[in-house]
Amino acid sequence: MIADLLETSIIISVLAATVRIATPILLAALGEMIAERSGVYNMGLEGTMLMGAFTAYIGAYYTGSLWLGVVIAMITGGLMSLIFAFMVITLKVEQIVTGLALNLLGSGLSIFWLRAAFANAGQTPTTPFFDTVPLPLLSDIPFLGPILFDQKILTYVAFLLVPATWYFLFRTRYGLELRCVGENPKALDIKGLNVAARQYAAVVFGGLMAGLGGAFLTVGSAARFVPEMTNGRGWLAIVIVIAGLWRPVPVLLATLVFSFLDALQLQIQGIGVAIPYQLLLAMPYVCAILALAIRRSHSGAPAMLGIPYWRR
């Protein structure tokens, strides 16, 4: 049975699934990377993604438009992160505690709203979901084509975001300023630039991306909302940013490793290999701890990550 896994068609399907599964996590992780580059640890990512998933679903259900659902999800993510930004940047509340509060808010609001909206329905209704859009010519490339170029639009967006964030961080004036905020905000402040505004922008960008990532879970694949359906993806995105040294390309690689584990797990279950499924499901979380334990040092972390800036 293990031999079955080595067949080309299976390899292609596992790798294509890897790319698909990577989409929401990659979106959230790149957003979080930008936020953390400004020195703010958005620990509320899980709840933000969850609300993104829920509002995309409910938005698409009521408006009948998948894209409107996506926009609503992004707005929701942006609003959630705006609350977070106000709490930690303006009021300087502990970032970890605020993040947790946001997670609990996301989980509580989504369940309540779901029950309130479909109280009488036996089962929550489904929405349509995005189809794959094969890219002309590219999708015909043998092997790589079906893996990389026969995906959904949001997947292309997520992968294009990798070079885009890289260019922004390392080649633009604003990217340099953002990195400076994360390393030593005072250096910008004494040049008369607004530190808080840059942090707000970075955190809200992270929220938009988390909302988008959440939307992919409902209108991008599952077509329905299930309570707690993000299932730790927000937290994995945070781990991935650390494991990816706060740099776009390593973040992409780390995302692919975790998604590959997940895709493999699905395939193994599909074939019916006699490994308890709980062990397979626990894999990403165990690997997350191992990844951090092996790295040990936190080199690459913005120096002021998690520390609020006071002008003294």
Partner: protein, 507 residues
């Protein structure tokens, strides 16, 4: 060159800044001409930093007005101060270590989306040539020496178009040679018409300025032309009373060896912190370690305290090898340690004075009754300490985070002096405290010496070192480059060693 040029570069009138009930600047007025080197002199807490923060738009004064080149300036933010031509070099460097020199200077400037590094590099090289500042734009700031970082800070301010440059205690971290370089650079700045405000408390630097304004307790005591006054005049103006210069002291005791280092070396993070240090310290002797900060002084003391483990060599305390002992066990053998960063390493800010005084000894029988801490005993001892060290505090329950730097230092001294039966490790005991506390600390250290305690003293203030030491050792890059009896040591011998120039000294 004095005050008579037509429009002053800076005119401040009746500036007042309050923090709650405290008046940090009380009706301060002064003028500075283009090309003038103006020194702002005052003790810690006299209001120098508040004044410069108001000039730079970091704080807003309650009253008063500021004119620059004859134009009234609303300095409500650093952006406005920069636009008015004010530049500032902060006491602690405000640089990003992981950025290059170029990035540090360019960040926050320019327009458009893309970074234009070519033009910026050209301007920076022009500036550094014009004022004799040697900087390499593409080096990482983390790799620069302290002096080089200082030059980068100055270029940063000039790059923003400063016509009035505020230098806040710029020489605190420089070697004597680097300070000389700094004054050469200041001459260049003056020649091109840039006015410089130098904030300092070092008399030999103050005497090189054109004029001096002296602040005491927030008030401007006066502005004088430097060549008309003496050092003693200025000290008198600054402190408001004559300062006792020399403490009486006995001859260095020929006590038995209290502490000895034998070939101690330590490297971490790819840097050498201690290199083959061999040194003996006798009971009743004070050895002062001179050197620019970051040359292994902290590690030298931390190695004795047990906070870091040397890679090789041995440390003996009264004949016993303490290499394998824990911090706690070393302290119990009669070693006190006064760390340089008192609020980071020495005190728990949210704890009361009483609690801080038993920090580290909280398991001790003395402070316990049964399984619980004996609050009566700790409070009683705290009351004694507050009285005998004249700590300005409301009582044993006052939180240490609310104490001023000087009083916080006294709490640490009370705790560590009590522990130091045989050896006292003292790192920067007078940093950031005013002259009254400095005198107090000096007196206490000498008293401890008379009691037969051995003292290893690290200070960036050469005045501390010269006033207190029986012998003076100079450290550079973890190595002891020379050691002199006090009467043989002077700035001419020690200065070059602090910069690593070993020639001319019999090490």
């Amino acid at each position: 060159m004095t005050t008579t040029s037509a429009t002053p570069r800076l005119a401040v009138r009746h500036l007042t800044k309050r923090f709650g009930a405290l008046i940090a600047n009380d009706d301060v007025s002064l003028t500075i001409a283009p090309g003038e080197l103006h020194c702002l002199l005052g003790e810690n807490g006299a209001g120098k930093s508040t004044f410069s923060a108001c000039l730079y738009g970091l704080l807003q004064p309650e009253a008063g007005e500021i004119e620059i080149d004859g134009v009234t300036a609303e300095l409500t933010s650093p952006a406005k101060a920069i636009a008015s031509g004010i530049g500032m070099v902060h006491q602690h460097f405000v640089l990003v270590p992981s950025f290059t020199v170029l990035e540090n200077i360019v960040v926050g400037t320019g327009s458009g989306l893309r970074l234009d590094m070519t033009a910026a590099r050209g301007r920076i090289l022009d500036l550094s040539r014009q004022f004799g500042l040697e900087i390499a734009p593409d080096r990482l700031v983390a790799d620069l020496s302290v002096g080089e970082k200082q030059w980068v800070e100055i270029v940063k301010a000039l790059y923003l178009g400063a016509r009035l440059l505020i230098l806040d205690e710029p020489t605190a971290v420089l070697t004597p040679q680097e300070s000389e370089r700094l004054f050469a650079i200041i001459q260049q700045l003056k020649a091109s018409g840039i006015a410089v405000i130098l904030i300092s408390h070092k008399m030999n630097e103050v005497m090189r300025s054109d004029r001096v304004s002296v602040l005491r307790k927030g008030r401007l005591v006066g502005t004088v032309t430097t060549k008309d006054v003496t050092r003693d005049d200025l000290t008198m103006m600054m402190v408001g009373r004559p300062v006792a210069q020399v403490h009486a002291r006995s001859k260095p005791g020929a006590g038995e060896t209290a502490l000895s280092f034998t070939g101690v070396s330590l490297a971490k993070g790819g840097r050498t912190h201690l290199k083959n240090v061999t040194l003996d310290l006798a009971a009743g002797e004070i050895i002062g370690i001179a050197g620019v900060a970051g040359n292994g002084q902290d590690e030298l003391l931390e190695a004795v305290a047990g906070l870091v483990r040397p890679d090789s060599g041995s440390i003996h305390l009264r004949g016993e090898d303490i290499g394998a002992l824990s911090v706690h066990d070393i302290a119990r053998r009669g070693v006190g340690y006064v760390p340089s960063d008192r609020f980071r390493d020495g005190l728990v800010s949210d704890f009361s004075i009483a609690e801080n005084l038993i920090l580290g000894q909280h398991w001790d029988e003395r402070w316990r009754s049964g399984p619980f801490l004996d609050e009566t005993a700790t409070r009683r001892s705290a009351e004694q300490a507050i009285a005998s060290y004249s700590v300005m505090a409301s009582g044993p329950d006052m939180l240490c985070g609310r104490l001023s730097g000087g009083n916080a230092q006294k709490v640490i001294l009370a705790r560590e002096f009590a522990k130091a039966r045989h050896l006292l490790l003292c790192n920067q005991p007078t940093r950031g405290v005013d002259i009254g506390v400095i005198e107090f600390v000096h007196g206490e250290l000498l008293r401890k010496r008379e009691e037969g305690c051995a003292i290893l003293l690290v200070s960036e203030e050469l005045e501390d070192i010269f006033a207190l030491s029986d012998r003076i050792a100079v450290m550079f890059r973890g190595e002891i480059l020379g050691i002199f009896p006090r009467h043989e040591a002077d700035i001419a011998r020690i200065g070059p060693l602090m910069a690593g120039h070993a020639h001319g000294a019999a090490a």
